[in-house]
């Protein structure tokens, strides 16, 4: 059976396990479990061939100088995951029609187990995600990270920004209280003032010339099926490109012509 050779993760020397001497070698239960584990992973990998992908993703290098600003992108992704997970739980109770929507949200807030906590996480998570996405965008902007060869990653990013704002806009209506209802009426009207496509856009959002029950179902479908799928797919493309090109080094770092000159430092 071909054994999978996992590359050793580059951990600092102090933490590396000392190899065992041959005479200490004995087959404990732990050893057998380890063998079985490696065997199982090897079996799967023989059929999936995913280990190359894992190596490509995890054992690449990030350039010198990579700092905390570089965590903002993945932080945005975690905020998105938070929205996705809490959103699924809200969807278990939410009823997207104009008659019951408000009651179902009230039920979530007041009666469902941890309901208000999950709804709060979804609500505040949206603010956090918007803040993080703007910070991440500012980072890539000021670091000039949108330049060659990462132009397309910037373009995907802008699409993600627009979709994220569209998520906030459609989600705001769903609790169907006075505040969200009237804010959305005004928001859809604002869309309608746009040149050329404006009126069509607001008709599409409302599902007709007037703001009615069907509007809510429409917002719900857009909010929980159309956009999240698109965002997930685009994040995938975004991260593929990030891994392919590597993240930029901070613009202040210059490559030294002879790396030997600096081996003494660090």
């Amino acid at each position: 059976m071909p054994k999978l050779k996992l590359p050793a993760p580059p951990i600092p020397p102090a933490l590396k396990p000392t190899p065992r001497r041959p005479h200490e070698h004995q087959h404990t239960a732990a050893d057998h479990a380890k063998e079985a584990g490696i065997g199982a992973i090897g079996w799967v990998d023989e059929r999936l061939g995913a280990s190359g992908f894992g190596r490509w993703l995890l054992f690449r290098k990030v350039p010198k100088g990579t700092n905390w600003f570089y965590t903002l992108g993945s932080a945005t992704m975690f905020a998105f995951l938070n929205q996705a997970i809490t959103g699924v739980f809200l969807a278990m109770y939410y009823d997207p029609n104009a008659i019951n929507a408000y009651e179902s949200v009230r039920y979530i807030s007041n009666e469902a187990f941890l309901g208000e906590f999950v709804r709060g996480m979804h609500k505040w998570g949206s603010s956090v995600m918007v803040i993080l996405i703007f910070l991440h965008m500012a980072r890539t902007f000021f670091f000039g990270a949108y330049k060659y060869p990462r132009e397309l990653n910037w373009v995907i990013g802008v699409a993600l920004l627009i979709l994220t704002m569209a998520m906030s806009f459609t989600g705001y209506l769903l609790p169907f209280d006075q505040r969200s209802y009237w804010a959305t009426v005004v928001g859809v009207n604002i869309n309608g003032t746009g040149p050329l496509v404006g009126p069509y856009l607001s008709d599409f959002l409302r599902g007709g010339p007037d703001f009615e029950a069907i509007t809510l179902s429409r917002f719900y479908a857009i909010h929980m099926m159309m956009i999240p799928g698109a965002i997930a797919a685009l994040i995938g493309a975004h991260l593929y490109l990030v891994t392919k090109h590597g993240t930029t080094a901070p613009p202040w770092y210059k490559a030294e012509t002879d790396p030997e000159l600096r081996t003494e430092k660090e």
Binding site: K64, T71, W124, A138, G198
Partner: protein, 250 residues
Amino acid sequence: MNHRQKEQYLRDYSVLKNQGKPFWPYAVAKDGAMAIVVVAAIMLMSLILGAELGPKADGTTTTYVPRPEWYFFFLFELLRVIKPPYLVPLATIGIPTICMILLFLLPFYDRGPERRPERRPIATTAGVFTIVAMGYLTYLGAAAGSPNEIDMNVPASVKAQGVQAARQFEAGKQVVAQSGCLACHKIGENGNDGPGPHLTEIGDRLPRDAIAQTLVNPTAPMPSYAGLKESDPQRFENLTAFLSELKTQD
């Protein structure tokens, strides 16, 4: 960037990349720490700030505050800054669309090889200006609020018409105060200056029928109050009566 500059960049980059640390476990540890901070912050906000739920939506009542989520304030404030009606489409859709197109195309018109912010004065200034402008508009939006009281005495011209008229004026004033009109209009010293026009002297400009017409069938972004007219014609009458009495006083 020309061909030589591209090659130069890729060469420099591969040197820097080789001097860096592996993604696993170094970058993963940082990203993980950040993820914990993010989720903990969200949980704390949820616990401390909760998730309020206002009264149920109702297209026929009008006691509401048309306020978007805070991160849309800057768009709404843009409407206040740009007032002339013929410019409204520009403010609502025009400017955001132009900004989005400029953002999309950024890597295609800014193609210089320089990446340090202090050596890209135009890009950096534009970026800082955008952030300051958005921050300022968001602040304005947060500070504006939506007053729901009108401080105004019954004018002499209405008093002269008798007690009935004065009472209707007061009642109409209540309706306007509770209906969120002041979020977009200014009446005397009350309310916000924009995006809608001042209503202080609306009675001079429009007859009562035309005002009623505007309320039922307004120009966006003002919402329609047709629902109020159907469900509570009396309140709607009071509303138009009040507005049509708002005239220059001498």
